[in-house]
Symmetry: C2
Subunit: 204 residues, 2 copies
């Protein structure tokens, strides 16, 4: 009926709701916690009814990871593209990144962070998907850094991958410290670390 969702059949809508719940749960308790039963209860479906939307539990997990990545792209990466290329865009990306879990109502923190740790050393489709995402992220982050070099805001000769590596470090320690330091304090520290990091690479 609604013009924006012309092709959304009933089934697709239900599937989307399931995946939304799945991402939320994965954020809090990890992708391994995505059991058919618990998700069925959460969404008000029967186990078999929910199961029918995916061929297997593994497919469900992969779909949930894809959905999480989609949300990340949509809410973190794409909005940053509105900022002018260079440092401003890099800063916007960083800000979107560390505020994403709160904005997206993912109380358990970044689900992709969770997935990475869960499947890093666990061969299978989930690990493959996780590594792909990680490499993609690295590449996009490096590109964003490169643009800041091109604009002259970062020193020429700067290794974009090196900067991307360190930025990811700041994001990870932010996520980790949020609980022990509190969000406000962790945010403050993360911004300071980010600023000092960039300052290192700015031309004098």
């Amino acid at each position: 009926m609604t013009p924006a969702a012309l092709k959304a059949t009933k089934g697709e809508e239900t599937r989307a709701q399931i995946l939304a719940a799945a991402v939320e749960q994965a954020s809090a308790r990890g992708f391994e916690s995505l059991t058919i039963g618990s998700l069925a209860e959460r969404t008000g479906l029967s186990k078999s009814g929910l199961f029918a939307h995916f061929g297997s539990k593994l497919d469900l997990q992969v779909a949930a990871l894809d959905e999480a990545a989609r949300q990340f792209t949509e809410q973190v990466f794409l909005p940053a593209l509105k900022a002018p290329r260079g440092l401003k865009r890099l800063r916007a990306l960083f800000e979107n990144w560390i505020t994403w879990p709160q904005r997206a109502r993912l109380p358990g923190g970044c689900p992709i962070d969770a997935a990475t740790r869960e499947y890093d050393h666990h061969p299978g489709p989930m690990r493959d998907a996780v590594i792909d995402r990680q490499r993609l992220l690295d590449r996009e982050l490096s590109k964003t850094v490169q643009l800041a070099i091109d604009t002259g805001e970062l020193a020429p000769g700067t290794d974009p991958a090196e900067v991307a590596f360190s930025i990811l470090g700041v994001v990870l320690v932010f996520y980790r410290s949020e609980l022990s330091l509190g969000t406000a304090e962790a945010t403050r520290r993360a911004r300071t670390a980010f600023d000092r990091l960039l300052q290192q690479y700015t031309p004098r």
Copy 2:
């Protein structure tokens, strides 16, 4: 019999073996994967025989976390104390830290890293233990940084907690990048990031 383990009864020995296996498994698949059955098979005990060593699964998990922390202290922190206080000790600590999983034959990476992500947002004894460990680590790391300020190797007025925060970030991104970049490349990048970080705070 052995003079070093005078008071080690049979049961304590078995318990130690169980915990060693548990830490190894937790490193690879997380503490939530520590099931009675799988550990019993791993150690050649029966389910009930293994279970008798701990009152519950939760106790087993907590004991495994304690054991992992003990190993970390023993193999990462204490050896660094042999280095003279200041930058040398800080560097030794960092080096021990990022090489620990390999040296300790923990193919799944740092088990405490795993535990932190698993229980960050999951109230209960495991989370309490994890947060305690994290705060303890922060404190010890900050102290080590402070010593490098005292020796004049880092600039006076440096905030030790700020430096500790960033160092932890480098360690985390190292762990994460090990798989996608390979250990050699990740180690190289981590060392570079660590050096540049310290350089920021060295008196000119």
